[in-house]
């Protein structure tokens, strides 16, 4: 190998190890588990770290207080449910029956403190729902 190649390899190795170090330490801060409500309770022990949990907003016990920048609701899966206490700007579209993803920590059994709340707002999904609704409309008897 000529000297330039050696220098180059050394430089690349140093850079790579620096990035690997950053990546390893970065993993700790960026690591977010994603699971559904059901999966959360199916796992033996709930992870300590930050969690992202997806599920549907339940009809019961729905308290949205956008004026107070908080919302408290049940997040329901197929078998399990979870009380979510969210603080922050309440998305105007938050309502029972819609799917949401919350990010935060599990405070105690079945109680989740969230600081991130995402509501479903995808162009793709919208189209699919519309298509479904359009097709359902066809089944309806017409006057």
């Amino acid at each position: 190998m000529n000297p330039a190649t050696i220098k180059l390899t050394v430089a690349a190795l140093i850079a790579l190890s620096a990035v690997a170090y950053l990546a390893l330490t970065g993993l700790a801060s960026g690591w977010v588990y994603y699971m559904t409500v059901d999966e959360l309770f199916a796992s033996e022990q709930a992870p300590e770290r930050r969690l992202r949990v997806g599920g549907m907003v339940g009809e019961e016990h729905f308290h949205s207080q956008p004026g107070d920048l908080r919302a408290r609701f049940q997040m329901v899966g197929e078998t399990a449910s979870l009380t979510v206490d969210y603080r922050g700007v309440v998305p105007p579209m938050l309502a029972p029956g819609i799917e949401v993803v919350v990010e935060g920590r599990l405070e105690s059994d079945r109680h989740f403190a969230a600081d991130v709340l995402l509501t479903k707002c995808a162009s793709k999904y919208q189209a699919e729902e519309h298509a479904k609704r359009l097709e359902n409309e066809d089944d309806r008897p017409r006057r």
Binding site: V19, L27, V32, R52, P66, G67, L69, G88, K124, Q126
Partner: protein, 689 residues
Amino acid sequence: MIDLGANSIALSLLAAVAALFAAVMAGRRGDERWLNVGRWSLAAFAVLLGLASLALLNALYYSDFRVAYVASYTERALPAGYRLAAFWAGQEGSLLLWAGILAVMNLVAVRHWQREGLTERATLMGVLALVSAGFAALLMFAADPFRLLPSAPADGYGLNPLLQDWAMLLHPPTLFLGYAGYTIPLAMLIAVLVAGRSDNRWLSIARPWLLFSWLLLGIGILIGALWAYVELGWGGYWAWDPVENVSLLPWLTGTALLHSIIIQQRRGMFKKWNAWLIFATFLLCIFGTFLTRSGIVESVHTFGSSKISELVIALFSIGSIDPRELIAPLIMAFLAAATVAGAAVLVWRRRLLASEHKLEDMVSREGAFLALNFLMVLATAIVLVATIFPVISSSVAQESVRLGEPFYNRVVVPVLLVAIALMAVAPLVGPARRMKEKLATALPRPLIGAALATGLALLAGLSNPWALLCVFIGVLAVLLLATDLIQAARLQQRQNPEPLGRAMLGVMDANHRRYGGHLVHLGVILMMAGVAGSSLFNEKYELQLAPGQQKQAGEYTVSIERLREVRQGHYTAVETTVSVRDGRDRTVQLVPQTRFYDKAEKPYGEIALHSTPVKDIYITLAGWEEGGRRVALQILINPLTMWIWIGSVVLCLGATLGLLPPLLRRAKAHPAVQRSESSSPTTMQVHTP
């Protein structure tokens, strides 16, 4: 018109296949006439997709709700501009747009390539026809924009209110122009390799395509960021969302390419590297299209639960399911086929890609560009792995783990900062010996200037180390760029006395590649300032106020008026006027809204923004109590954000300059006069342009 559209798409597949056949025949028989057939087939492909697009636009404009696509994305009350722009609001239309853009580019590329040998021309045509056929098949079998509903509903479901924004009119087409554009250099590369050529002449034809695609992709990404900022309401412009990430990936490799092909053009080095990079960039463009629409990774665009396993199931149960379920598996299959085929060509012809020179010295243009390429590819790899991490982790460990923003900020941002630091010394980059001289003579003073500026910033109270680093890099870069331009202009003045400004313009016009590049670099520096300011020093306040009441948010005094209800177009909005008074008694009034669109079930927030070069005041109407006695506001103070957009404009101007021929007449028109001037300074007054 609907039939016309559907039939055009079916025929376009035929045309693309015909072009492919003709290209293969031309290559095998060595017959020009087959190439003509291919050219006409590609022209037919473009015309047919044009007709299909017109048919779709027509259906959208006249609200023909028999078409599922029209009913899904428009409504009667939607303004005409948005009705037409709904062309790319959904998957099917977006793919039609992609294919349509590619169809036009096919023709331009074939023309651009007409001086090459027969094999090269036939292969280029074959590759383009193959990609075109892939898209036509996708449109025909899975993503049919003309799918009909059993009966037409009375009105459509309207366009997602988030997409009703001028930025959304422009974001998808520019992005697709970039994506489709990267097909052309790949086709040229394959053509040259198949023809058995190892020269680098073809790069001068490929380079404008690389620059054009890079520019358009960049504009698309930036418009997307601007849209997220003004429309999504969380106060940021970049969230490392999977869909944002996948558009960034080809842009990063494209950035690397723009630099490393210069080395190949000049010295015949980095050939293998460039070939793989062109190929990877193309694949990343297809991957971006795939991921954006597949829902395998959760994101703001594709919030979904469909997983790879479902896609694979879908692949094996053709016929029993909705054809649209096939879009993602088909793109995935296309991606896999393209990967195998492209890699096969590159491996088969690896001998042609041997480097003509060895890298002799790291401190040289080659060394600097290699380092930049390394950093860009490293950043690409990290972003790619992190983006698909949920998929990796769920298939390896049955746990879905997402890597959040902190990961990217911690890992990718430092890599990009090192790249920007390298960029700062770009004006000094050159052949090894000259570069060392320049580093010794031209670097110390700007270095001292940058250190002084950083010291001043520290004295002024700036203590964040990242911010100080950005000040240092930014000042160093600007000083080096300015010195470089002024020195060149002085040199020009010595030959031809004229005002400094004019000399500077003349110098820039005489070398678009160099100074276009420098402008791009300046844009990046300005953007870095904006990103640093807005991400390191933003303030966030959440306030609850009664009308008439005053509250303090940091140095700002905030008060609101009573809530109002206003009717505008096809929505009703609840709004209030917020007065924000800063520490120096300057008051701005902003009107954030919550909009209730007629066709949307849920309300949408519309932020209010007051933007100045120093800072943005960004207000969201977060909610209110029944009767409006109390109103919640979110107020964000984002320093320097405007510089991101100013930097973007500078960056785009620079790249555009790189694409243009010399602009000032003098540079070209009087070469003889100029030569005589430099030999005999006394005749200088003869020349007045």
